[in-house]
């Protein structure tokens, strides 16, 4: 009986089959191919180069490539700064909205606003606003008399980095805010009231009662974000395209340039594996956190 | 209408066995209650009968036909769920008619049957509402209506009253009883509430850890519990159960107190036997405040110190103490008692039970 059952594919397997097939065809197989090509000096212009196996030469070159590691470090820095800022601002925004006595619906709707902006639009929008000549920001600063110069937001490397952070944070804070707000709304009121009666200050109530409950929701947001952190590519591509003079080059823009502008596919694929590895690391980490936080909540409430 | 028969029915989840080969014959039109503490396997058993859980071993017959591997729809059963499981997107009318619609019946045939069932359950005015607009008791009645509409061979109830408050529960208990008298079909009713089981069932099945402890009519399981477990489970407040040893024709308790060995056990147990002595609160009462069962010689008198009383109006539960052991008694025609008061109590030993301390099985006197 048991043996017979094992021979037949199970229902959940059949249900998952289409998903597995599509993902294998469009993601896994091409990735294997790119994994192979990362061991070749493949250039799009020279198809034969695909069969010239060079071992770890591409990886070796990357390891000693200052330009690559600068971009890598900048990417990690951008993600760290942006994700932390998004988390904190999202939490703040969610709490502001939760406390609002009137117009909750309208506020929540506005809160979702940036979510529907394509990253490419976000990039364009901030490129427009940060434009040194006609941008809203410089215009405003000049009209208010705070400066009489045109601040080169997207031309100076450091300023451009922060301009990108601002765009990124603007576009993704709402995911955090929405999910954390959902957590705040789902939270039972009794524990908070009990904490207040027990003499907790508002900060203690938040720290020991509210935050542990809301944490899994923040992790859901983190996980979703980590699923497509590389969306930032679109924003950067439009705002600076890694420039000026590679001063805002991120991993993804570097890969794209190496592959298409320089046509060095093999090398670009090797670089891409670093980017993929980075993304997977982020996601697995937050999935773990999410699972842990869920069990903790389950035990406490 | 059909019999249901469970033959060595087993449920396993991987290596874990939940139901250990139980046997049960349910007669046609019989009302059977499965009771037991949570985790005893009663709901799993019901779900196997329903076809919602695969059967790991043994046979299940409904109406003489083996249905082990048939899906629920092929068993002609209906079930009332603890959560009622009403379809939230359908009106009461659609909920009740759903099974008939699935069976391919035409809507003009469905309508009279739904209305008939609605009349029986006094739901006619609610037919066009959605489940979310109903109270708990109404939802419960709709769930029953959905079950009777299709005229099944067997009704299955999975703790149908446990989400209701005490008053409604009593009321709906009566309705279920009336319903059974009216539709006259086989019922298997799972509950953890022994009062429900006692009041509703023709026979009660008491389950524990995946085994059947006893099957019997309410009178049987109350008066002649087959084991210490059944004795403690059935009856409220539960039977006084005290570990003891037999010596010199007396029952000697752990704290040194003793009672005469009830006469009907005189020739049955030998000295030195380790037993558990059981006496229902009904058979332990302050002198002059109880009914004894006739045999004066079997009534033993002793003084107990009252610790707590629970007045219930027509009677009072008296928690009293002797030698560190607590006994629960029942006082009819009660008068007010003070805590700390010492009273003469009657132990009606003709009603006492003895259980083997090792096996927990009853020693028949």
């Amino acid at each position: 009986m048991g043996a017979l059952k094992r021979l037949r594919p199970s229902t959940p397997f059949l249900l998952l089959l289409p998903a597995i097939v599509v993902l294998a065809a469009v993601v896994v197989v091409p990735l294997l191919l790119s994994f192979y090509s990362s061991f070749t000096p493949f250039r799009l212009t020279q198809p034969a180069s695909l069969f010239n196996f060079v071992g770890f030469r591409n990886y070796g070159r990357i390891l000693t490539d200052v330009e690559f590691w600068t971009a890598f470090g900048r990417t990690v820095l951008l993600l760290t700064v942006a994700l932390n800022a998004e988390m904190l601002l999202g939490l703040g925004l969610a709490m502001l909205v939760e406390k609002a006595t009137a117009g909750q619906r309208l506020l929540r709707t506005i809160m979702m606003f940036p979510m529907m902006f394509s990253p490419i639009l976000v990039g364009f929008q901030f490129k427009f606003m940060f434009n040194d000549n006609i941008g809203l920001i410089n215009n405003a600063l000049q009209s208010l008399g705070l400066t009489d110069q045109a601040i080169p937001w997207l031309i100076d490397g450091t300023l451009a980095f922060w301009a990108i952070v601002v765009a990124e944070v603007w576009s993704s804070t709402s995911i955090f805010a929405i999910l954390i707000l959902a957590g705040l709304l789902a939270m039972p009121k009794e524990p908070i009231e009990a904490a207040r009666v027990d003499g907790c200050t508002p900060w203690q109530t938040f720290r020991y009662v509210t935050w542990p409950f809301v944490m899994p929701f923040a992790y859901i947001a983190m996980t979703i974000r980590s699923l497509d952190v590389a969306r930032a590519y679109d924003i950067v591509k439009i705002m600076t395209d890694g420039g000026p003079a590679k001063r805002t080059e991120l991993l993804w823009t570097l890969i794209s340039r190496t592959a298409y502008a320089d046509a060095r596919m093999g090398l670009a694929n090797a670089m891409a594996y670093f980017a993929i590895f980075l993304s997977i690391l982020f996601t697995v980490y937050f999935f773990r956190k999410l699972a842990a936080a869920r069990t903790q909540i389950g035990a406490e409430w | 209408m059909a019999t249901v028969s469970l033959q060595k029915l087993v449920k396993r989840y991987g290596a874990l066995e939940i139901v250990h080969g139980i046997d049960l014959e349910v007669a046609d039109r019989e009302f059977i209650a499965l009771v037991g503490p949570s985790g005893c396997g009663k709901s799993t058993t019901l779900r196997m009968i329903a076809g919602l859980e695969p059967i790991s071993g043994g046979n299940l017959k409904i109406g003489g036909r083996i249905v082990n591997d048939l899906p629920p729809r092929a068993r002609n059963i209906s079930m009332v769920f603890q959560s009622y499981a009403l379809y939230p997107h359908m009106t009461v009318r659609e909920n009740m008619g759903f099974s008939l619609k699935i069976a391919g019946m035409k809507s003009e045939e469905i309508a009279p049957r739904v209305e008939e069932a609605a009349r029986t359950l006094d739901l006619t005015h609610l037919l066009d509402r959605r489940p979310s607009q109903l109270s708990g008791g109404q939802r419960q009645r709709v769930a029953m209506g959905r079950a009777i509409v299709r005229n099944p061979d067997v009704f299955l109830f999975d703790e149908p009253l446990s989400n209701l408050d005490a008053k409604l529960r009593t009321q709906l208990r009566t309705e279920i009883k009336k319903l059974h008298a009216k539709v006259q079909s086989t019922v298997i009713y799972v509950t953890h509430d022994q009062v429900e089981a006692m009041t509703l069932a023709d026979r009660i099945v008491i389950m524990r850890d995946g085994h059947i402890e006893q099957v019997g009519t309410p009178e049987e399981v109350f008066q002649r519990p087959a084991s210490k477990f059944v004795a403690g489970f059935i009856g409220s407040p539960p039977m006084n159960l005290k570990d003891a040893e037999i010596a010199d024709g007396r029952v000697v308790f752990v704290n040194g107190d003793s009672l005469p060995l009830p006469r009907r056990f005189a020739d049955r147990v030998t000295a030195g036997r380790k037993v558990t002595f059981g006496l229902r609160p009904d058979d332990l009462y302050p002198a002059g405040h109880g009914i004894h069962s006739g045999q004066e010689a079997d009534v033993h008198k002793a003084d107990l110190r009252v610790s707590i009383t629970e007045p219930l109006g027509n009677e009072t539960l008296v928690f009293s103490e002797h030698g560190g052991a607590e006994w629960v008694g029942r006082m009819l025609n009660p008068r007010r008692l003070r805590a700390g008061e010492t009273l003469p109590f009657c132990f009606d030993l003709s009603q006492a039970h003895l259980f083997d301390r090792e096996t927990g099985r009853t020693l028949r006197g």
């Binding site: 959940p12 397997f13 289409p18 998903a19 599509v22 993902l23 469009v26 993601v27 896994v28 091409p30 990735l31 191919l33 790119s34 703040g92 502001l96 506020l107 809160m111 979702m112 606003f113 979510m115 529907m116 902006f117 990253p119 490419i120 639009l121 929008q125 427009f128 006609i134 809203l136 215009n139 009209s143 603007w170 999910l179 707000l181 959902a182 957590g183 789902a186 899994p216 979703i224 590389a230 969306r231 590519y233 591509k237 993804w252 890969i255 694929n269 891409a272 980017a275 993929i276 996601t283 869920r294 389950g298 | 076809g51 729809r73 079930m79 499981a85 379809y87 997107h89 759903f98 699935i102």
Partner: protein, 288 residues
């Protein structure tokens, strides 16, 4: 001043600070979008004016007229881009929903071996950065000759959307009590019937919002589209946006107008689903 008056004053100040904070936050969220909408109605001279013109003097629909007036007259093939976007987004959404429903149902209703690892594995395919995926896809697609076709883009977007769709739909099916499907089976349904008669209608709104989410992802996607499309055969709106950028100049007004065209469908759809979206993502966060 007694204790009560102090506490009351502190409370009032706090409430004022709260209102102010809320106002500033909402302003920051809304301003960039509104600025673009405004700019799309203004003449280029006014956008470029130095010193800036704060109060719009001259609002017109010129940018939109120019955009739709076709190639060569300052316009771009926006109709083509729009219809490409629509075709690709809708088709890929429908397919991802079908696949996602099957997968989500499997995760919500069945217990099987290595369930959480499989789930994580599916999600991980989503983490592959679009640009990293576009390199091999570009190569494979060129070999297969499906570059610059609707089919190629649809296939890529289905793969992009399936993991997240499964996550969302899993959540929605979990919210439908298991009892209901069981009750339906007792009522005589097969498992298949029970699904379509009971579970599907109840999870329906949630599934619709998962669909809209998938639609938005496809609608807004750029990294893959920019490599896998070439011409008006398959170029979508986000790629088309780049038509307004030349080597050194940008037609700000035109870009703003196209941005508005892009954002309107997204705006409408998001508002429709906002409630379900959140509940799908978070179901199970509390109950596990």
């Amino acid at each position: 001043m007694n204790e009560n008056a102090k506490a009351r004053l502190a409370g009032n100040l706090l409430s004022l600070a709260h209102k102010l904070g809320l106002f500033i936050a909402m302003a920051i969220i809304c301003l960039p979008g509104l600025w673009i909408v405004l700019a799309s109605f203004r003449p280029t001279v006014e956008i470029m004016a130095k010193p800036p013109v704060w109060i719009p003097q001259d609002l017109s629909l010129d940018a939109y007229v120019a955009m739709f007036s076709g190639v060569g007259q300052g316009g771009i093939p926006v109709i083509d881009y729009f219809s490409n976007s629509l075709i690709v987004s809708i088709t890929s959404t429908v397919i991802s929903l079908a696949i996602g429903m099957a997968g989500g149902y499997a995760f919500a209703r069945f217990r099987f071996r290595a369930k959480s690892s499989i789930f994580l594995g599916l999600m991980l395919t989503r983490t592959v950065p679009g640009i990293a995926l576009s390199l091999p896809l570009f190569f494979v697609y060129s070999k297969l000759g499906i570059i610059d076709t609707h089919f190629g883009l649809i296939l890529a977007y289905v793969a992009l959307n399936v993991p997240f769709t499964i996550w969302l739909i899993d959540g929605f099916f979990r919210q439908v009590p298991k009892d209901l499907a069981e009750a339906a089976q007792i009522d005589g349904c097969t498992r298949w019937q029970a699904f379509w008669q009971v579970e599907f209608p109840l999870a329906g709104p949630g599934i619709a919002s998962a669909g809209i989410f998938a639609f938005l992802t496809s609608w807004n996607e750029f990294a893959l589209a920019s490599q896998l499309t070439r011409s008006i055969n398959s170029k979508t709106l986000p790629v088309g946006l780049l038509d307004y950028t030349a080597e050194f100049t940008i037609d700000w007004r035109g870009m703003c107008a196209l941005a508005v065209v892009m954002i309107i469908p997204a705006l409408v759809l998001t508002f429709i689903v906002q409630k379900h979206l959140v509940s799908g993502l978070t179901s199970g966060a509390v109950k596990g």
